[in-house]
């Protein structure tokens, strides 16, 4: 491969190489990444692969990362926690300095981050992908202590929440009712609760056929709804009752002692196992740094993903306001790459690259039954908003299509394998 270059370009390049200060400034450029999840791990690995002149440090408190994706299969009992746990040696091998600590504060003016352990790290560009915080107390009675009885399993941490929900399902007698509380938009992973309903239903059908699921929703419609409900009718008839907001499905209060979910209009539902997915916001560090607006999420530039409040800090992943895009792992991965490429361009005094964001969320509905939603997005011509490319994307076709469902279940596994290799190397 020999790229054709004009004589002028070669001469300009020679001039750049001849200017030691410019080269040195570039070779020392420090990219700091906070958060080693879908956005942060993707950013750090991509930065080293595509811009090897960047000095990349990743700050992440956990030595092992448990993914949210496929956590629903652990809850349903068809995957182990080990299979969805990843380490950072691959990123280290790519030349990323990995620091296991919490970022405690960001000084945007001085371009410094203070770590809980006492160290201070300077940066030229910061990529912030800290994920979400659960809004404790937004549902009356749902705090950290209540989550030990009624798990959320929505921020897996070390996996304890995921395993707690799994153990409760195992311990539940046949005939017990599993209650779920599902939040209003926006929240992490729009199809996630419904994949979880499906995986729990699969377990109940096999092991506790007299049990059922009561899923209370603060919405009247949800992602891939037609496809999910087709699958539920085909695979789990009578096992799942989904209660939308317009049928008093919005849970506003919980009582952990008696495992009661209480609705907006005062209906009390006592259940054997309760999975409460509470309302969410950007993670604490983003809020403390003053990056979030009144909604609790971070407004960003649609091309560079720099925070509107603090240019120089690129906020990717679930913490930002992504316009029409979902809060998904694939979007975190794709926006992280655009943010890194923009940061690198700006460090070299160049314009950011043209942007293209891509999402696919596969969901498992049954063992050999997968469905998907695709979205491809770009900034509008003015660069003021993100829009979906007309005619692209969409959900899997509906109808009795067993081969499509079977293939999508296997392709979902391939997606998980690919994306986690892309992230963790």
């Amino acid at each position: 491969m020999t790229p054709r270059l004009s004589r002028r370009a070669v001469l300009a390049g020679a001039a750049l190489l001849a200017a030691p200060s410019a080269v040195r400034a570039q070779s020392q450029a420090r990219l700091l990444v906070i958060g080693g999840g879908f956005g942060g791990a993707s950013a750090a690995g991509f930065a080293r692969r595509r811009f090897p002149w960047l000095d990349v440090t990743l700050v992440e408190p956990k030595a092992r990362f448990v993914t949210c994706p496929y956590g629903n299969l652990v809850i349903g009992g068809t995957k182990t926690l080990d299979a969805i746990t990843h380490g950072y040696d691959g990123l280290r091998a790519r030349g990323v300095r990995v620091v296991h600590d919490w970022a405690a504060g960001i000084d945007a003016a001085a371009r410094r981050v203070r770590l809980q352990g006492g160290e201070t790290l300077g940066y030229d560009r910061l990529i912030l992908s800290p994920g979400i915080a659960l809004r404790w107390g937004a549902l009356e009675g749902y705090d950290e202590a209540a989550a030990e009885v009624m798990p959320h399993a929505w921020v897996p941490g070390d996996g304890a929440q995921t395993l707690l929900l799994r153990r409760q399902l195992e311990a539940m007698p046949d005939g017990g009712v599993v209650g779920m509380a599902i939040p209003a938009n926006p929240f992490r992973c729009p199809p996630g609760p419904y994949e979880r309903i499906s995986m729990i239903a699969g377990y109940l059908k096999r092991h506790k056929p007299r049990s059922k699921i009561l899923a209370f929703d603060a919405k009247d419609a949800f992602s891939k709804q037609g496809l999910f409900q087709d699958g539920w009718n085909a695979l789990y008839p009578g096992l799942i009752e989904w209660v939308p907001a317009n049928r008093d499905g919005r849970i506003t209060r919980v009582d952990a002692r008696d495992r009661v979910l209480e609705s907006e209009f005062g209906e009390k539902h006592r259940v054997a196992v309760a999975n409460v997915i509470p309302p969410q916001s950007a993670a604490r560090i983003a809020i403390d740094a003053g990056l979030a607006d009144a909604s609790g999420w971070v407004p960003v530039n649609p091309v560079t993903f720099e925070s509107r409040a603090a240019p120089g800090i690129h906020v990717v992943g679930d913490a930002n306001i992504p316009g029409p895009m979902p809060k998904s792992g694939y979007i975190a991965n794709s926006t992280a790459k655009q943010a890194v490429a923009s940061a690198a361009a700006s460090l070299r005094g160049e314009a950011p690259p043209s942007a293209l964001y891509y999402n696919t969320c596969y969901s498992h509905v049954g063992d050999d039954y997968g469905i998907s939603i695709v979205g491809i997005f770009r900034p509008n011509a003015e660069g003021t908003a993100i829009v979906e490319v007309p005619g692209s994307g969409g959900v899997s076709p509906r109808g009795n299509l067993p081969e499509q469902r079977r293939l999508e279940a296997t392709y979902a596994d391939a997606w998980y394998d690919s994306i986690t290799r892309d992230m963790f190397g």
Partner: protein, 94 residues
């Protein structure tokens, strides 16, 4: 000669047209494997004939090639991006 090669490589990376294609191709890695080497049942793209990859994408876009998902993906890309992405994968090692 090594100096010139390094120089050329540096420029290939910073030229905006070159930067655009690999960023578009990054969107394929999450399913076709990093570097397009394939994953599970999803076919490899790396090291394949550019014209063949391009023709497949154009056919997916027009709904003329069967698939579970590629039509929905391909319709998000311009013809120029498809050409650049096909060239990109054709150059990658299998």
């Amino acid at each position: 000669m090594r100096f010139v090669a390094a120089l050329l490589a540096a420029f290939a990376m910073s030229a905006p047209a070159a930067a655009q294609a690999p960023l578009a191709a990054e969107g394929c890695y999450g399913c076709h494997g990093p570097g397009g080497t394939g994953a599970g049942g999803i076919p490899a793209l790396a090291g394949r004939d550019a014209a063949e990859l391009r023709a497949a994408m154009i056919a997916f876009r027009a709904n003329e090639r069967p698939g579970t998902i590629m039509g929905r993906v391909a319709r998000g890309y311009t013809e120029a991006e498809i050409a650049a992405v096909a060239d990109h994968f054709a150059r990658l090692p299998r």
